[in-house]
Amino acid sequence: NSPAPLPERAIYGFALFLGSWFGFILYLIWAYVPETWLFSLGLTYWPQKYWAVAVPVYLLVAVAIGYILLFGMNMMSTAPLNSTHTITDNFAKKQQQKKFQEEAIPALRDIPISEVNRMFFLPEK
């Protein structure tokens, strides 16, 4: 699954490029060419031209609301100050204490907050 260029990827890219240009030209024709000209060509079943302006505006407002929504969701999922999630979690509660071996590096574990505080704020002489 490397991101290297492949012949299939080149074909997909070119097809998407042509497709997006076609879609854009079609959108411009629909938005700008007067209805009478389109009717005279026999193309009568188009959506209302109101949507040519409404859909981009809807999308931009949705993006702006998305910024605010993401910010709000982040704030909501932050643990409040009085919850135990600021101190520990399920993995830390269930951790096993490995036996202390001489001359070996101690095993990695979650140090309880009381111990950490003592080390930081009560300097032993």
């Binding site: 100050l81 009085n82 135990t84 509660k93 907050i113 009381s114």
Partner: protein, 164 residues
């Protein structure tokens, strides 16, 4: 033995009080100029007075204090600007430790002092966290002083009291 540690918040400033009052009265005068209804002015005076009383009695905390008695427990008192005091007492059997914890609060990481309550089933676990000094939110240097003081008292509860 026992110790009491108190943190005082800033007093109500005269300039913020006058700024808020002027803003409300200017808005009311603007409404009066538009609507020609004089009840707007008396309503504004009423709102200012009631709002000030509610703020002083329910919102503005002047001093928060922590009373640690090693054999009995910990008492947390908040005194409001109107003179109201609300206290909470936690007995020593439930207190596991008093620590300085860091947490994310409103796009900042703050240090705050909190009491860890013991979980009755699990001696190593914490059942509840009680944050202290929530309205004055002192900074780390003040918290370290309070922490050291509390730890000295809490150490005395493990050693049985010597009879003199």
């Amino acid at each position: 033995s026992c110790r009491e540690l108190a943190v005082r918040g800033p007093r109500l400033q005269l300039r913020s009080l006058s700024a808020a009052t002027s803003a409300v009265w200017l808005a009311a005068y603007g409404l009066f100029a538009i609507s020609e209804n004089s009840m707007v002015l008396s309503a504004a005076i009423f709102i200012t007075l009631i709002g000030l009383i509610i703020y002083l009695h329910f919102v503005k905390i002047d001093q928060e204090s922590l009373l640690v008695i090693s054999s009995l427990g910990i008492q947390v008192t908040s005194s409001y600007a109107s003179g109201k005091e609300s206290t909470t007492f936690i007995e020593m059997g439930q207190v596991k430790d008093v620590v300085i914890n860091e947490a994310i609060h409103m796009q900042k990481v703050i240090y705050y002092l909190c009491i860890l309550l013991q979980d009755p089933e699990d001696p190593q676990g914490v059942s509840e966290v009680v944050p202290l000094f929530q309205s004055s939110k002192p900074r780390l240097d003040c918290l370290i002083e309070v922490y050291k003081s509390c730890q000295e008292i809490l150490e005395q509860r493990k050693t049985p009291p010597q009879s003199s």
